[in-house]
């Protein structure tokens, strides 16, 4: 028997052993309107998508018998919990969830490792985890709260949202995100906003040492102020100066003004301590 054959057999044994240790479970529930669904998964991925009607479907992939899934339904409140048993580790305690919930459900997701994913929902959602990457897409009319230490955060096509993102060192990317409040706080992660800042919201992007890039289309209307205490500030878009400013802009460190039509504009505050801030027009290359 050749060495290559032995290696293939060994690989096959490992793969089969791994697959054999995995267990797939499915749970189905009916909930009332405005349901609350929470999934707490110490280790593993959680994905949430809309279901049809009032049904909740939980597909769980358990990576070993060191972890179990506990579900508790109280009226329209469903708690899904990965229950770690003695001796569980990040590998053996892992559970990956695919969850389908009513589109208007309030969703709370927690996983230390992530990733966390939500799409096409319009209920309030909270996603958090220390190293969890977070990806939210095609969401409307929702309060979206995200907390992560090191994970990357991506919000795409989130409309009319009340958005609050806290990230310590992970990059935060907002693409076509609008709403009455869009707030990102990051200690060292880079913040990228690509979009038109809506029509009448408050947009606050703040970092300590991370750079901030705002990429806006030609027709954007917004009152913009940007300031970096020690970093460079660049503005590629001509702004109409404001009559009154709440700080004295220093060349290269701050700018303030209005772009587009002030009457229908949002308020945009870009602030950093040592990060660079760059406001620029969207081009075919940056799209």
């Amino acid at each position: 028997m050749s060495r290559r054959t032995i290696e293939l057999i060994a690989l096959g044994v490992i793969v089969v052993g791994t697959l054999a240790a995995q267990t797939h479970k499915e749970y189905r529930y009916n909930v009332g309107p405005k349901a609350r669904i929470s999934v707490n998964d110490p280790y593993g991925a959680i994905s949430v998508k809309p279901s049809t009607g009032n049904s909740v479907i939980v597909n769980a992939l358990l990576y070993s018998d060191k972890v179990e899934v506990d579900n508790t339904q109280t009226g329209s409140h469903l708690d899904v919990q990965s229950h770690l048993l003695a001796g569980a580790t990040a590998e053996t305690g892992r559970v990956d969830y695919d969850v389908f919930v009513p589109a208007d459900a309030t969703v709370t997701l927690h996983s230390s490792t992530g990733p966390l994913y939500a799409e096409k929902l319009h209920g309030d959602m909270t996603l958090e985890g220390s190293a969890a990457a977070v990806d939210i897409r095609d969401v409307s009319d929702a309060h979206v709260h995200v907390k992560t230490l090191n994970g990357a955060v991506t919000l795409t096509n989130v409309q009319d949202g009340h958005i609050e993102v806290d990230s310590l060192s992970g990059p935060v990317t907002l693409d076509a995100v609008t709403g009455p409040l869009v707030q990102v706080i990051s200690t060292s992660g880079k913040i990228i906003y690509a979009g038109d800042f809506g029509s009448s919201g408050e947009y606050r992007l703040t970092s300590h040492s991370g750079d901030i890039d705002a990429i806006v289309p030609e027709n954007t209307s917004a009152d913009v102020s940007a300031r970096s205490v020690k970093g460079e500030v660049r503005d590629d878009i001509p702004l109409q100066p404001k009559a009154h400013t709440w700080f004295t802009p220093t060349q290269g460190r701050a700018f303030m003004g209005t772009m587009g039509h002030a009457a229908v504009s949002s308020t945009v505050v870009l602030r950093s301590f040592s990060g660079k801030i760059h406001l620029r027009k969207r081009t075919a290359k940056s799209q």
Binding site: H77, S130, T187
Partner: protein, 210 residues
Amino acid sequence: MTCTELQESLEQTEYGTSLEQQNHLRTCPECAALVRELNLISSSAVQLRAADEPSPRVWNSIQLALQREGLIHPPRPARTALPSFGNSRGWARWLVPVAALLLITVGVYVRQHSSTQVATNIEPAVSVEPTSEAALAGLNDADLLQEIAQQSPAMKAQYEQDLSRVNQYIQDAREVVATDPNDEEAHRSLLEAYQEKAMLFELAMDRSLP
């Protein structure tokens, strides 16, 4: 259906919802009163849960801590994760969210305190150590790193770096406030820096759990 059968059936279905149960309840005032009380307790319990219960992971964390201590064993058929304060580690788990709340409160206090000084033209109060408020709030970096080192040694270096970053954020924000006490955005920035540190403690404790 007899009274005994009705009481047994209540364990299987919602209180008084089946046709047989309803037929019996129409003719038995004692059972009807029992069902009314059960429904009242049930609805009140739901409200209590919604109002007072911390997140499920808190219960899970406490339960796991108790299991590690050998004080409870994983109950197989019917598990419960009721909170217990009788164990020192259980109390320790509560300290983090409480400390985080305290930290935010201190942040608010610092902001208000600074604002007051602006109004009265007194010197800005940024002369204490950058993390002294955090220490007052019970958020001690060394304690956190020790907990991380015990639970997730591989993560310690990452959290040391994270703590260093967020402490620098607080220090820099305080300096900006000191430079221009009238700058409302600077005050906001200081508060956000504290918020970041509170989040770090909150999520770090989650991460350090098994």
